[in-house]
Amino acid sequence: MTDILNITTLDKYFDGIKALDRFSCRVRQGEILGLIGPNGAGKTTLFNVLTGFLRCDGGRAFFQGKNVVGKTPHRIRGMGVSRTFQKLRLIRQMTVLENVLLAFQDQPGESLTRVFLQSGRCHSQDGTNQERALAYLKDVGLYEKAGDLAGSLSFGQQKLLSLVCCLVSDPELLLLDEPVAGINPSMMEKILSIIQNQARNGKTIVMIEHNMDVVSHICERVVFMDMGQKISEGTPEEVKNDPKVIEAYLD
């Protein structure tokens, strides 16, 4: 299997604290990789560096052979790397449908000149996007809520919606920061099955997750990180029984 993401010796310091310490890791095309580790291990920092929200202090990360480190967030999203946030982010004052519409890439209607000079094209593209957005919502059971404000949804539904926004325009690599933390079991099952479906369709997923049952259930491989370093890597079983991992948790 080919590597879709190749991270080499990433460094990130926060005032002398090493959040990422020569972190290296490879992610294979089409796998669901679990990223686990204690709080403050640098998992979210890694996502922030990979998606351009944080500058790193050294190292590179190649997505499909192209370095993403140092690029801006919107360019990285345009290359096909999409993410969700640990602290749920949505535009709560907009409708569910509008949130999904926002997520489409390369919309002609987002260019001011085209809004005025090619309004027909902008309009028809937005119409097509609307149909596609509604199809996405139908798939996940949010179709009835399309016209409601995103902020009026339950927490679980909001998490589901943020995942939908992340999937729009078919990104190749999904970086999911605790996609099922704090939600009820039936919603959790729904979200996990969406993630598995994505993997079946050839997409690659890296997810941060604390719940080991979830990790064992859907991740083929797991990377355990602590103090900004990769401590262990392997199947969930292997990592769970790795003495270095047990030691890290006991510290």
Binding site: L90, L102, G109, E110, S169
Partner: protein
């Protein structure tokens, strides 16, 4: 009758100012107190061109818009790096710089004496009386309103609102937030210049005191009281706040008192709205960001 037309012309000019600032402040959430500076740049560019180069009105109008829009880009760039309160101070600085240049570059701008004798606009015919000028103002105000409406209803406008609510999330969806901000700054500044050109050719005399920070604050007050994030709010706000003080005249107050009461009225209204109705008459956005509380 002339008096009524005069008020309506002023309202038209202010509708252009408030809807254009609403794009920036109400829709994108970038509070700027430099709008009077762009208004002034438009007025001075058109006035100087007409007085020195004797160029026709439409040429002056277009060049004033371009000049102001370019300045808008210049001011917009810091907004990418400076956040919220600090950016307001940066726009304040720009406002002060523009005022100082207008006030002190005497040979070019006439300094505090201003520029008298600005010729009336000629569009096929000379527009010399209030009636036709109201038509011209209304046409330009409607054009600006229409352009703003097109923008806010487009996917471009959707991104602006998203930036206002959550910049990080918007970036994560692949939007070049910086470019959107600079573009809307450019549009907003360019439209303010249209109002400036109208004002200069209407009054036929301009001096720097019309384009002070007080004027900027007055414009942003109309946007907030009318309702940020709603274009009709800006129209309504301009109608109410321009005509309200005129009503004071009919109460029989002498002019010297009425002028001061005006300031108290605006200030008082702003405080009342901030306290009890932060979204203004029909606004969709308050500047109290709920995410800050969390």
């Amino acid at each position: 009758m002339t008096y009524l037309l005069h008020i309506l012309i002023l309202i038209g000019i202010y509708i252009i100012l408030t809807t254009s600032l609403n794009l920036l402040a109400g829709y994108t959430g970038i509070l700027s107190i430099a709008h009077a500076a762009f208004y002034g740049v438009g007025a001075y560019v058109a006035a100087l061109m007409a007085l020195r180069l004797h160029t026709p009105f439409l040429v002056n109008l277009i060049l004033a818009v371009i000049a102001s829009a370019l300045l808008g880009v210049l001011v917009g760039f810091p907004s990418l790096r400076i956040k919220d309160d600090y950016f307001i101070i940066a726009t304040f600085a720009f406002q002060v710089i523009v005022f100082s240049v207008l006030n002190n570059w005497v040979r070019f701008t006439g300094g505090p004496m201003g520029l008298p004798g600005i010729p009336q606009p000629v569009i096929i015919l000379r527009i010399s009386s209030h009636g036709p000028f109201l038509l011209l103002t209304s046409a330009l105000a409607i054009l600006c309103f229409y352009l703003c409406r097109r923008i806010v209803r487009s996917p471009f406008g959707r991104v602006l609102k998203a930036i206002r609510e959550d910049e990080v999330f918007t970036q994560s969806l692949g939007k070049d937030v910086s470019s959107f901000k600079v573009k809307i700054f450019m549009v907003s500044a360019g439209m303010a210049a249209i109002a400036g050109v109208l004002y200069a050719t209407y009054i036929s005399y301009i001096d720097p005191t019309s384009f002070t920070v007080m004027e900027s604050i007055f414009i942003i007050s109309i946007v907030i009281i009318g309702g940020a994030g709603n274009l009709w709010g800006s129209v309504l706000g301009a109608f109410v706040l321009i005509s309200l003080p005129e009503l004071l005249r009919f109460v029989g107050l002498p002019n010297s008192v009425a002028a001061n009461i005006r300031q108290i009225l605006y200030g008082g209204l702003l405080v009342i709205f901030m306290l009890w109705r932060p979204r203004g008459f029909i606004g969709e956005f308050t500047f109290r960001n709920p995410s800050v509380k969390a």
